[in-house]
Assembly symmetry: C2
């Protein structure tokens, strides 16, 4: 990216909206994953027209272009691995229209998830996807990563709420995918091809999102069990009842030990696993669901069940879940968080296998996550100064992926592949399936301009190279 190229980009986005000063570039060199790659330039386009002009230029020169929302991703999806240009959605931050009659919203891709929630709430509506980053992360980033969240067990993930997109293709064409009609089968489903493609197949500039009415009533419950097996029995019993909880989170023994001192009440000492459960709906339905769930927990041998309907009481039950992250950081300063997912009835087996990995590799592992959809956050806790521990942890991660796949599961439930898991992709996917994905990438991005190395182009030799560097 020489001066001539930088100049052309400056002309496209305007003088105030680009930089190649090192102190600015540093801000765009990292995301929620713990690695740094310095871009050569950063630019903040105003919309699809400018993104299109830049992508055409990038194909001509060529140079890599890396889309970036708020940079909260956990798998390195917005890292400029090969340098080049970081292109942000920072200026595309307008909620264009909320249409309460059709329960939809048009937004630009740089709008913060939480900002849409606040606006939608004024119309009695909400946007169900609620990644933990929702107060910082952008809707464009949520869509690019197909973000999940705690409510996914009832409401699904980002993919289920994106109706239509304005996208700039890697070669610069602006296209519109999907429809404002809820049902549409016209042509290939480009919307869902772009959603979850981690910015490798297109740069999202606008989204049409489906909103739904805020439920009238919510009930939160915390239930303790002696062990994860009994908690899993309760999960099975709840999920085979006709109740669909809006949240069904679990914590294993090590997670319970972490939070014991942080929550506002005395946990019975025999609590070796916790379930945090929420139901929402009409007041009558919520009361009925609460009874069904309490009974399911009791019949599965729960140690205790607490229930709350008022916000302040609900917050105190959520305190257990929310205190995990700060609590575990006191054990070790470095955390590798893998968000594997398995068929939900395989969670006890997965947790048992993880306990065995923890013993064999001598690494502290804390498990919690979304029991309702089998999505487990496996946290490896490390001292970054202890090279041997770090190396044992990496070996344990690789074996974890093998275990997960042998249980019918997946490397990532909601965080994406990025560069963090790309080296392990072939543990889950056959070579033929990866080759089909590569053919699509090559067909839409023949010069490999848009977000190179993400998803399936960052192999184990790249990691080895990087560790040497």
């Amino acid at each position: 990216m020489n001066a001539r190229v930088r100049n052309r980009i400056r002309q496209i986005v305007g003088d105030a909206h680009w930089s190649h000063r090192r102190e600015d570039l540093l801000l765009y060199s990292y995301d929620g994953m713990n690695r740094r790659y310095l871009p050569e330039m950063v630019a903040h386009p105003a919309g699809a027209g400018e993104v299109s002009a830049i992508l055409r230029l990038a194909n001509e020169v060529p140079f890599p272009v890396v889309p970036r929302g708020a940079g909260t991703g956990l798998t390195g999806g917005s890292l400029p691995v090969d340098g080049g240009l970081v292109l942000t959605t920072g200026r595309m931050n307008r909620i264009l229209n909320i249409d309460p009659e059709n329960s939809v919203a048009w937004v630009e891709s740089g709008v913060i998830n939480g900002d849409l929630q606040s606006e939608a709430k004024k119309h009695g509506l909400f946007f169900p996807p609620d990644p933990a980053s929702m107060n910082f992360s952008t809707l464009g980033g949520n869509a690019a990563e197909n973000a999940g969240g705690s409510r996914a067990v009832k409401y699904g993930v980002t993919r289920d709420y994106v109706m239509a997109l304005e996208v700039v293709m890697p070669t610069g064409e602006i296209i519109h995918t999907g429809s404002a009609a809820i049902k549409s089968v016209t042509g290939y489903d480009l919307t869902r091809l772009i959603v979850g493609s981690e910015g490798t197949l297109g740069f999202i500039t606008r989204l049409l999102l489906r909103l739904i009415p805020i439920p009238e009533a919510v009930r939160t419950m915390l239930a303790g069990f002696t062990d994860i097996g009994r908690a899993a029995d309760a999960v099975a019993s709840i999920m085979s009842s006709r109740v669909v909880p809006s949240t069904l989170e679990f914590m294993d023994r090590s997670a319970v030990e972490c939070v014991r001192d942080y929550i506002g009440f005395e946990l019975p000492s025999e609590s070796g696993a916790l379930l945090l459960i929420e139901v929402d709906g009409s007041p009558a339905a919520v009361e009925e669901d609460e009874r069904t769930i309490a009974q399911a927990c009791t019949e599965s041998g729960s140690v205790f069940v607490r229930s709350a309907s008022r916000q302040s009481d609900r917050d105190s039950l959520w305190a257990a879940r929310r205190s995990i992250s700060p609590a575990i950081m006191k054990i070790r300063p470095l955390k590798i968080n893998e968000d594997v997912a398995v068929p939900r009835m395989k969670i006890p087996e997965l947790v048992a296998r993880i306990e065995e990995l923890s013993r064999r590799y001598r690494v502290i592992i804390v498990n919690f996550g979304h029991a309702g959809d089998g999505n487990v956050h496996v946290n490896f806790l490390l001292d970054p100064g202890d090279a041997d521990e770090v190396s044992r942890a990496h070996a344990a991660v690789e074996e974890l992926f093998q275990v997960v796949v042998s249980l019918g599961g997946t490397l990532s439930g909601e965080h994406g592949i990025g560069i963090a898991k790309a080296p392990y992709l072939d543990i889950e996917l056959e070579g033929t399936a990866i080759e089909v994905m590569r053919r699509i990438k090559r067909a839409l991005d023949p010069n490999n301009i848009l977000n190179p190395h993400k998803t399936f182009d960052y192999d184990r030799s790249s990691v080895a190279r990087e560790l040497r560097a």
Copy 2:
């Protein structure tokens, strides 16, 4: 397809499972759309291995291969437009496994939707997609067309229930897409690219489907209104309440006139529009929802509201909806059924525009469909012997598509594009979006072997050619 090629196919599928006798081929020359194309050969492979061998051969020779389920599709998706080989899923009709603990089922693609429903019911589960053809159509066909149905307003469409696929690519590779974990973001979403691609991007051989618990209680309601505007007010009021009906069907004035003599009770004479509404869930929730809906209808000026909870009473309300098709066939022997969709609040405007088209083109048009998701079945009733009427109807159809798109809608809500709507694709999609779809098709099917001419390769000149022939 000479004798040598036929012989190789015979060797792949076995002697008993192919034919090129004219009387057999005739059976595979038509589907739910009113056109005929004779294939050169039909074969019934046992599974992915045989499909793969045939597709490799087809690329070598080459000859076109047209996948076929039960042939109930309404847009010609299984028609062998260029002759070649029809490849059926007739022998892939096993339900491989129903796993009630994880609420999933593995099925072969030739399993009838209704057969899965019967088996799932034994475990208290059901498969939500319910196209009108469900007692005949296959799950592979449902997935290829991304079929909808009456329950889509609450439960979504086929796409929302396909978790994983075994697919033979057009070039013969067998791949596995998706995951048995409910949440998975590993790699591109090939599952949803294949679902709805109308057999042009892959031949589906097995599907992993998500099932959900059968609701405890169902309540059916029929409400009459003086006109479609008031019915639309009721729809708006219901959808903006927190009630999500499991069915929300409407009939316009012409449809009401058709069914008046067929239903088991006297419709008040001022009924110019009907809504058929169902809610399901726990008994308490259903009762509450019924009250909310009755109130919404009354406040919107309904002429009458009837409600039923027993199956026999519910059937008598459904009789109104079910009698439309036989009733309208008495008006004219030929029906062109277009399943356009618009944002749901645009239905009254769409119906008004259709009334205007009906007057201007002098064609009888009857409208009914899924009000909850804006999916309207627009039925043009014709005498096939009246060439002028047929030609006026075709002109009206084209203008209908233009109206629908101007209202933010789509050519097809659930029937697919096939060859029936392919000539009109550019009314809805920009050239750049169509070109992106073509690039994907070319990347995955470089020799254009699998189901050629479907979705976007059947233009207006093909129709003109065909009308001349």
